[in-house]
Symmetry: C2
Subunit: 439 residues, 2 copies
């Protein structure tokens, strides 16, 4: 195994000039920032958010950085820990499928805390985030599926390095200091998938962000570390079950971050292509629950074990039920609102009747993130619709969808207010934008 | 692999009644407490100690827990981070060879911070430490050499679980809450050996201690985690290259902690048996550098690659040189004082002349921690001496040696003062003993 190339590539990325940042990637990063603010606000009332705020309040300390759900400010590390955890509470944040992780919830909390400490602008925050997210993607792709299958949660592990790159950029660390910070991140990074289904999962995002602030804070003050803790002998990558045997994947020129996907529905990401394809079919043909005779979905067989619960018994199980989710779309229930996933949904006879009209078929020729629908109406027409989550995104079309999601989560007024502030990122401090998180 | 037995065993250990704690193990724990206080004070002026104090001072916060080298108190997590790091700065703390780790530097900082927060007595602190250290030893032995060789530093990884057990005992966590804390520790624990030779190594001890305070603080407030994050599917042990395929090693009845060994010389632990054997030979036969004609050492061959530098060029290399260390003993240079390892030692012609009389031979029949010496005097007498670090320790004989080490490190007055306070552990608060760390 040879990963000595990885650290130089990550460092080069960290010092890319602003002018050399990919425009599409930067626009995508700004949409991720909006989406992260929204899911943070939406997660703010969750039980784990109260626990986190209570925990950091007991320690107290310098009132430097904004924390979601409170007017009280806290030291940057504490803020990063709390904000990372709270923003991942609803599992409604963005996903990068290639590196198998959630970039925003690990990186924005660290970048925001560093930006507030340094008085940076919101635009600088987004540009620093992009450098970090890109580093996470590349390291995460080298770690790959084997790392994930061994039990590690890339959001936390690879995310810690990206969060460190982002925070270091805002702190203005030079190359040797960032090298030390990444070395310390290597011995600090952790996060296991066995936490899924518990508060430990969102905690993993907070861990990554808090670690980044800690290692930058130590490195800035002259703390030393291994010359290459990331890819060197017994460094993080070789000791954590990497998928690949070298760092080749990290050397790509294009910005991989652009392939990030934002969740537009508060259910299993494996069902989203189906929901999009069905929404398109509804719009194109005026289909309703009443006019549908039958619907066949072809999906990649791997999803049959994940999100094909035929008779869900709880709101949570509905999130993993192709048939019930399709019925919700046909009955005009908002799949973007997490409040829609009430246990009562399972007892709705109309939904159940529509769900019974739906058949799910595994087909190896269908891409992982894709779906092919064939519907028949009561009048005998045949309708088809296909969707692939991995197809390139039209950012202009995505933006209003994210605002609609935000409206479903935090109300239209606040969704619009945060959206408006996205138009002036280069003119305001990150701390000013962060005020949206406070209430 | 099957590690489902591990967590119940660790939990049982955590709730062992005080009366059921092994007396010898408890006495050993108290000596470790003394030794930990001493190496903490000795490390207090190291560059990393200044950086750590500056780092936590920037965050500030509740003045709850003592930090080495300052009168200012800090939040428990910050104190644990700083104290763990500072106490491992000189690499002069105790070692448990079977689990390949340093128990005191990971566990005492967490236990002390928790004890100060709760107003616990120093005796309760030591009893909680013992439970935690025993848990670390057993988990560490299951992780074993394979975990270590894969790149992990048991002091930090297994140490995090022991620190969590110790802190949880002082916080009075019940079994379900400690289960959650250990689950969170499982996703939080980290630490790599590639940091050796940098400040990242002592940082690993601070990481373990700080993690313990954090996960106890969250679990106490109701934060949830995996049912068995330690040994369950994709838990910490199965995902981190364990040596053993089951948890059998964890189920021993005797207290493994009793096999801890305290460093009495400020050099590589692989040379300590030789130093002890040679000191005994000196005392028994009045041997000096002048009366020695030649000396042959038989050691386990694995040490030849570690500490048989024939011509050291720096004080650091002297710490890994059998011949020079033997010469220092014969010339009455104090091997316990880290100040003795000056670069100038390498240029001392008398030492070099004595060192040239020494021959080191690898012998597979010699135990890992043992040595056999054969000396010849200028008058033709043949002298022999053997020592095995793993032979049972006479605690009554160890105590004055630890005080002598302390005197070499922090001066006789302070060494005695701390030693006196060890006689009243059950009558004073942990916070009172901690005052020794402040100046």
């Amino acid at each position: 195994m040879s990963f000595e190339d990885l650290l130089p590539q990550v460092l080069d990325l960290a010092y890319v000039e602003d002018a050399a940042l990919d425009d599409t990637a930067l626009e995508t990063a700004k949409l991720s920032f909006y989406d992260w603010l929204v899911v943070s606000c939406a997660g703010s009332a969750q039980p784990l958010a109260h626990i986190m705020r209570d925990f950091i309040a007991a320690d107290g300390g310098a009132a430097t950085a904004t924390v979601t759900g409170t007017m009280q400010k806290y030291p940057p590390r504490a803020a990063a820990l709390a904000n990372g955890t709270i923003s991942h509470a609803l599992d409604y944040d963005d996903t990068h499928f290639s590196y198998v992780g959630h970039p925003s919830v690990a990186i924005f909390p660290a970048a925001l805390a560093a930006a507030e400490e340094r008085g940076a602008s919101a635009a600088d925050l987004c540009a620093a985030f992009l450098r970090g997210a890109e580093a996470s993607c590349r390291i995460g792709m080298v770690l790959g599926r084997r790392h994930y299958d061994a039990g590690f949660h890339q959001t936390a592990t690879s995310g810690c390095f990206g969060a460190t790159v982002a925070a270091a950029h805002l702190y203005g660390l030079d190359r040797p200091t960032l090298t030390a910070a990444l070395g310390l991140a290597s011995t600090r990074a952790s996060g296991l998938k066995s936490q899924f289904g518990t508060m430990g999962k969102p905690y993993n995002a907070g861990i990554a962000a808090a670690n980044a602030i800690e290692v930058c804070g130590l490195a800035r003050r002259g703390f030393t570390s291994a010359e290459d803790g990331l890819g060197g002998p017994q460094g993080f990558v070789p000791s954590h079950h990497p998928q690949h045997s070298d760092a080749a994947l990290a050397s790509q020129n294009k910005f991989l971050f652009t392939d990030v996907r934002h969740k537009l529905h508060a259910c299993c990401h494996g069902t989203h292509a189906m929901i999009e394809a069905l929404r398109n079919m509804k719009v194109a043909h005026g289909l309703t629950a009443a006019t549908l005779a039958g619907l066949t979905m072809q999906v990649n067989p791997r999803w049959l074990k994940v999100c094909d619960i035929k008779t869900p018994r709880t709101g949570l199980e509905v999130k993993f039920s192709y048939a019930f989710l399709a019925a919700m779309v046909l009955h005009d229930i908002d799949t973007a609102a997490y409040q829609s996933y009430d246990d009562a949904v399972c007892d709705d006879a109309n939904l159940a009747a529509t769900a019974r009209k739906i058949q799910v078929i595994g087909d190896e020729t269908i891409n992982d993130g894709a779906v092919a629908l064939v519907g028949e109406t009561v009048s005998g027409s045949q309708l088809t619709s296909e969707f692939d989550l991995m197809a390139p995104i039209d950012l202009a079309a995505l933006a209003p969808r994210l605002v609609a999601k935000a409206s479903a989560l935090i109300g239209a007024a606040k969704a619009e207010k945060i959206w408006e502030s996205m138009t002036s990122l280069d003119r305001v401090k990150a701390a000013e934008i962060a005020q949206h998180l406070q209430s």
